[in-house]
Each structure stands twice: as structure tokens, then as C-alpha cells.
């Protein structure tokens, strides 16, 4: 029973204000990322803005809506370290994509250098 009481206090420590704040922020950030398309920013500016708003939104959802900010470090680390594997995969496949594009252009359009 003591355990139960402790849990209850833990669960209700977050005030409603923080959820409403994060909620509002998510709306504002979504609006901004939509504006990136609306004003047709191009090139590096477009990509960096998209990534910036995306990571900010993802971070807010994970940290506060999914409670990771208040979770024990063991869980946070179990969840976040595997993401480095995904990052490696992205780098590998980006290089692979470049090579595939090069091969297609070289053999299908240039003619294989004959």
C-alpha cells in the first residue's frame, strides 16, 4: 500500500500547465514548419529549417508527452542509444544512393564511357 501511495504522488506531480505549454508549442512549431513550405524557402535554408523544427517537435513529444524527461536514465539510454545505429544506416544509405545515381547516369545516359 505504501508503494501505491508513492506512485500516486509521482503520477500527479506534473501540473496541467506544462502539458498545455508543450501542446501550444507543438502547434506553433507545426505552423512554422508549414510556413517553410508556404514561403517556398529552397536549398540549405529549407532543409535546415525543416530538420530544426522536426527535431524540436520530436524532442518535446518524447520528453514531456511520453514522460522521458522524468523517466529513469536506464530507460532513456536503452531507448536512445540504438538511434546511433539508425544514424549509421542513414549515412551508409546516403553514400549508396549517390553511387547508384552515379551508376545510372554513367551507364544509362553517358553510355558507360565507350
Amino acid at each position: 500500500m505504501e508503494e501505491t501511495k508513492k506512485k500516486e504522488q509521482q503520477g500527479s506531480t506534473h501540473k496541467i500547465g506544462i502539458y498545455l505549454w508543450i501542446w501550444g508549442l507543438l502547434f506553433v512549431l507545426s505552423f512554422f514548419s508549414y510556413m517553410v513550405d508556404w514561403y517556398q524557402f529552397q536549398g540549405m535554408l529549407r532543409w535546415s529549417l525543416i530538420l530544426f523544427f522536426m527535431f524540436l517537435k520530436a524532442g518535446l513529444i518524447m520528453a514531456f508527452f511520453m514522460h522521458l524527461f522524468w523517466e529513469r536514465y536506464a530507460l532513456v539510454n536503452v531507448l536512445l542509444w540504438p538511434m546511433t545505429a539508425i544514424a549509421c544506416f542513414i549515412v551508409l544509405m546516403a553514400a549508396e544512393g549517390q553511387y547508384t545515381l552515379f551508376s545510372r547516369l554513367f551507364y544509362f545516359f553517358v553510355g558507360g564511357g565507350q
Binding site: S33, M54, R72, P82, M93, G97
Partner: protein, 237 residues
Amino acid sequence: MSEQKIVDYEFKPGFKGMAHDTGSDQTMFKGVHWGKAMMWIFLLSDTFVFSCFLISYMKGRASTPVEWPNPSEVFALDAFGVPVPLLLIALMTFVLITSSGTMALAVKYGYEKNKKMCGWLVLATAVGGLTFVGMQAYEWSKLIHEGVRPWENPFGAAQFGSFFFMITGFHGTHVSIGVIFLFIYAYKVFAGHYENGGKRGWFTTMRGDYVEIEILGLYWHFVDLVWVFIFAFFYLW
């Protein structure tokens, strides 16, 4: 709570607690509801599935010599006779964020044992999810009508269709499953399955607890999280 009290175990915060957790005997996340830990593991594996889809999309888009269709024009919608870029997608994003917010509040009220607020908020989340699925069905039928197929489309690179249907379809499936569960849990909250020590579940002898709403919330926020990435990479890029 369905957890037992663990003898000689005290939770420590920070890195010390992490060392305790990873080095503890028998189980790792002591004191955490098993369902919550398993949901996190499931979401981790789901992250890998969605990552693979998005990475294959990146690779496919980067390696085609044919020009990629401009999503800003493909997903434009006529509002009062004027084509507005990405209008439907923006609305879908806002609907999903709204439902994510109601879910977060439902979890909060669940832990405060506020049955009414929790139930209504879970129901609101379900309605939001249903709206999202409806809008996605409209988007799909519109594109199919315009001639977009997994193997060809009138706008540009042929790969566009297959990636679009695969990624948004898999995400839509997640939303649909989430909506079904949200309706079930809205019923369970209103029926008082988590009150007075909890009622035993349909498939289990374990007693219900409001922690189940948090577990459901984790799934729902994850669906929203994936949409953030799809919105950025597929629609905006």
C-alpha cells in the same frame, strides 16, 4: 498497482540509478509496470521499422535520375477556388497534435483517478484519430483518382507512388489500430475497470490500473512522433 513491493530495493535517480538498474538481478526496470516496459521495447522495434521505410525512401529518391514530384503541388488542395499547398496535410498534422495533447491530459487525469475527465479525453483522442484516418482516406482516394499508382504516376519519378502508399499506409494502419484501442479503453475507463482496486481484464487475471492509460498514451504519442518525421521528410522536403 499490480506491481509487488520489492524487498531491499530503492530507486536511485541519475546515473547511479542507471548503474543500479542495468546491474540489478532478475529484472532490469524494477518498479516499472511490465506493460510499460514492454510497450517501450515494442516502440523501439517499431522505430526501426519506420526508420527502414524512411531510409529506403531517402535512398530511392536520391538515386533516381528522373525528377521527383513536387509534394507542394501534388498535395495541394483547392480552398475557395485557390490551390493551397499542403492544406490537407497541415490540417492532418494539427488534428494529430490535438489528439496527442488530449491523450497527454487523459494520462494525467488517469493518474489523478479522475474517471470522467480521463474517459472523455480518451474519447476525444479517439475521435481525433478517426478524423485523421478519414482525411487520409480522402487523400489516398484523391491521389488514386489522379492516377498515382505504386508503379507509376503522372507527376514524375515512378518510385514516388510506392513510397507514398507504403509509408503513409503503414502509419495509417498504426493510427487505425490506435483508434480501435482508444475506443476500447474509453469504454473501460467509463465502465470503471480501473476503480476500486481494478477489474480483471478480458484476456488476463491481472487487475486493471490507470497505468494502462499511460501505456496506451505512449503508443499514441509514438504515432504522432512518426507523423512528425513523415511530415518533414515526405511532405516538406
